[in-house]
């Protein structure tokens, strides 16, 4: 998870100066390691598999993780989600959609210069639990919310 990327894999690191910047950034931010895209985790078809590929052990539900989303999505193609962690030393926030063909949707590394508060929009194939997973001090915490995916229009 924390290996350095090879220059051939990452298009935007091809340029020498870009690489230089990335390396200097790495030196300045030891905790914000440049992680290679975690293929095994993104390919996982079920929550336990995704957790396993991400190295998640014993995730516990925590009231200090907030998952802000509407109860109902008018369309599954775009479901706005926001996750906020109040847990000190949060280093990672991920969004997982339990019933999607690929469970893991997005993973954010939270460096020391960032607040643990991220917003994005996800696709959902059907009504499902959405999980905000927070990593802090090597431990994992979650907030879970069921989001109903409904039909808004004629469906024709």
């Amino acid at each position: 998870m924390t290996t350095l990327p090879t220059t051939s894999r990452r298009g935007f690191l091809r340029g020498a100066s870009a690489l230089g910047l990335a390396v200097s950034a790495l030196a300045a931010l030891p905790r914000l390691a440049l992680a290679a895209w975690n293929k095994a985790a993104f390919d996982a078809k079920a929550l336990p598999d995704a957790y396993k590929a991400m190295g998640v052990e014993n995730p516990t539900a925590s009231a200090d993780v907030q998952l802000i989303a509407s109860d109902i999505a008018e369309n599954g193609a775009v479901v706005p989600v926001q996750a906020i962690s109040k847990i000190p030393n949060t280093t990672q926030i991920s969004f997982l959609v339990e019933k999607n063909p690929n469970t893991l949707a997005a993973l954010f590394d939270i460096g020391p210069d960032m607040l643990p508060d991220v917003t994005t929009r996800l696709k959902m194939g059907q009504t499902s639990n959405v999980i905000a997973l927070v990593k802090a001090d090597g431990k994992y915490f979650t907030a879970t919310k069921e989001i109903k995916v409904t039909l808004g229009g004629c469906g024709g």
Binding site: I72, N75, P80, K148, L151, G153, C154
Partner: protein
Amino acid sequence: MRLRLIACLALTAGLAAGGAARAENDQSIEGIEKYREALRDGNPAELFEAQGEELWKKPDGPKKASLEKCDLGLGAGVVKGAYAQLPRYFKDTDRVQDAESRLLTCKEKLQGIDVGPIIKAPFGSHEKDDMNALVTYISGQSKGMPVKVSLSHPKEKAMFNLGKRMFYYEGGPYDFACATCHGQSGARIRLQELPALATTKGAPVGWTSWPAYRVSAGQMWGMQWRLADCFRQQRFPEPNYTSDATIALSMFMSALSKDAKMDTPGIKR
């Protein structure tokens, strides 16, 4: 009237399973409202506005000209506020035109482009995507401005009247007219509320929010596409792009939206 009422009552009698369902219903609508609120911040339509502006300024066609001298009704090159005053009568074409129709005129006259293929190209094609980006840009330049559509020219008035008649025109295997779904207020299809488009209260709900980004398909739709898809769902044949029937309906809705503020480009399910 009474007979009809009895028939209606017969259908509804004992069917209004009442309060509980309604409460649940309100909750669903509330959830949807929250969903829409979350979408408003960061409307991908902005991406299309940027593309449209680039297309507006880019020299194109045999005449290698941009559209920057296009007269959208407020004079050559004036984009600000133009969308809020369309459709309108244009002397040079002797026609009432909406934004899309007028853009085609400008492409033809300023750039020397044969617009036939643009008219014929299906929605979702590169040609139509460019048109949608352009109207998105143009409509964005009227955001927050009041709708000011004139009915003073006889052709404008006629277009409005034709639009009204089109709105009620029922046909096809499902007997649908625009009015079937949009002829009443407070009703929904599935969870989608339907504005009563023939009223001054309902018309702006529709008119002022298109062009809009459709999240369902990740596409940018101008009013021409919106109307074409309405007709599709009405089980009608497809309206010709920038045809009078579509411009008439736009004239009907926009005139009823007088003084409402444009909220374009919008974002929709």
